[in-house]
Amino acid sequence: MDDLERELRDLSAWLETPDAPDVTASVRVRLTRPARRWRPLAAAALVAVVVAVVPPTRAAVADAVTGLLRFAGVSIATTPTPTLPGDTPSPLPGQRTLALDEAQRAVRFPIRQPAQLGPPERVLVADPDATGTCRVATLLYDGGALRIDAFDGRLNLAFHKEVMPPGAAWVQVDGDFAIWVDGPHALSYVDRAGEVRQETARLAASTLIWQMGDVSYRLEGAVGRAEAIEIARSLR
């Protein structure tokens, strides 16, 4: 090998190549659909694809223009400048602590528990309608450091997140699509009228969002992606 060849090999390390994106999920999504010729932008691919995968009533809708992604009752806006929540966020509207069996009677969907974590330390329900039926049930673990919010997946939006780029990543829980938001982000409650309740805005830890049998879940806490997925898979 002469000098120029050696120099070229050495140059290789100095060439700017951005970190490789993770395309596993997006490739998989395209492979599970019938073949079609198109060359989409990555964001546009998500729109078409996710709508095809989940039933339309709880379809995830990504808006390529605003960067807003809706999935499982959660909207996710990717913005370099998230609105920072205040110091003392309000709890979800009408939130109260109940025993597990009372909580089950207060919501219309089944409350499932992750086998991985066992029974919760506390159970909360929130946002009752006129008949007292609540919209959200929350299981708390580790003194509240780890929480699972469950809400009816057929409902409209229940939470709004603002995340910094790169924002949210597609992952899978038991072969179904899920979203992983890595790192702290602003989280607000979206009430029945579709209003973002700014007073509930707080800084949320890393979160996994998934759906199982018409119920939407968000798991939040100091756990890594793999661990969060394991917990999600253990819901019974």
Binding site: R9, A20, V171
Partner: protein, 203 residues
């Protein structure tokens, strides 16, 4: 990256416990095992992406490799295993990159890391001087590469930047072996010429 479903371990052979090689994964993927294909995608994303970037796909590299992985899956039955899965895949990436150039009418050039022109001040003075010289040399090399005809640059990228063997370059670029050989030496000769001229100009 993490395999999305840790419980069902496809990376491991259920009997031997060893990671499956590409050929075994290809066989499974061909039979419709998408999780096996996920693993192939994850395993080869980095080199596919680097190939697309170095061949000039720039900010469209993600689209290019996504398209390439989808096409590769659909063509999997035609992969006969004469070359490695990697070089067969890189051929598809190279082809997709060419399609991209055709559709948008430009290709993005090679970009040197900022560090190349900015040796850290902690290096001793002699070191700093030679680092500056080395940085300048790299910059003129990149400049010379930019002036090469496309096919010459492609063969340089494959042989020296992606470190593909002659055989793998044959597979990746889809040229006859003789063409790869002659094109490589011609490209190197042209580069030498361009660099000499550069040196003359700078004294």
């Amino acid at each position: 990256m993490e395999p999305p479903t840790r419980g069902r371990c496809h990376e491991c052979d259920p009997n031997g416990g060893l990671p499956l090689d590409d050929d075994a994964l290809v066989t499974r993927a061909r039979a419709g095992d998408l999780e096996a294909y996920d693993l192939l995608v994850a395993r080869h994303t980095a080199s596919a992406h680097r190939t697309a970037v170095l061949l000039g796909a720039g900010s469209d590299s993600e689209d290019v490799i996504q398209e390439a992985f989808v096409k590769a899956y659909r063509k999997l039955s035609r992969y006969r295993g004469e070359s490695s899965f990697r070089s067969w895949l890189l051929a598809i990436v190279a082809n997709e990159t060419r399609n991209l150039h055709r559709s948008r009418g430009r290709r993005d050039g090679l970009v040197l890391r900022a560090a190349a022109a900015d040796p850290t001040s902690e290096i001793a003075e002699d070191g700093a001087v030679s680092a500056v010289l080395a940085g300048e040399r790299r910059a003129s090399l990149v400049e010379a590469l930019r002036q090469l005809p496309v096919r010459d640059r492609e063969v340089i990228v494959c042989r020296f930047f992606l470190d593909l063997s002659e055989e793998e370059t044959v597979a990746a670029l889809g040229w006859p072996r003789g063409t790869v050989k002659s094109r490589t030496s011609r490209a190197l000769a042209k580069l030498r010429g361009l660099l000499d001229r550069e040196e003359v100009r700078h004294g």
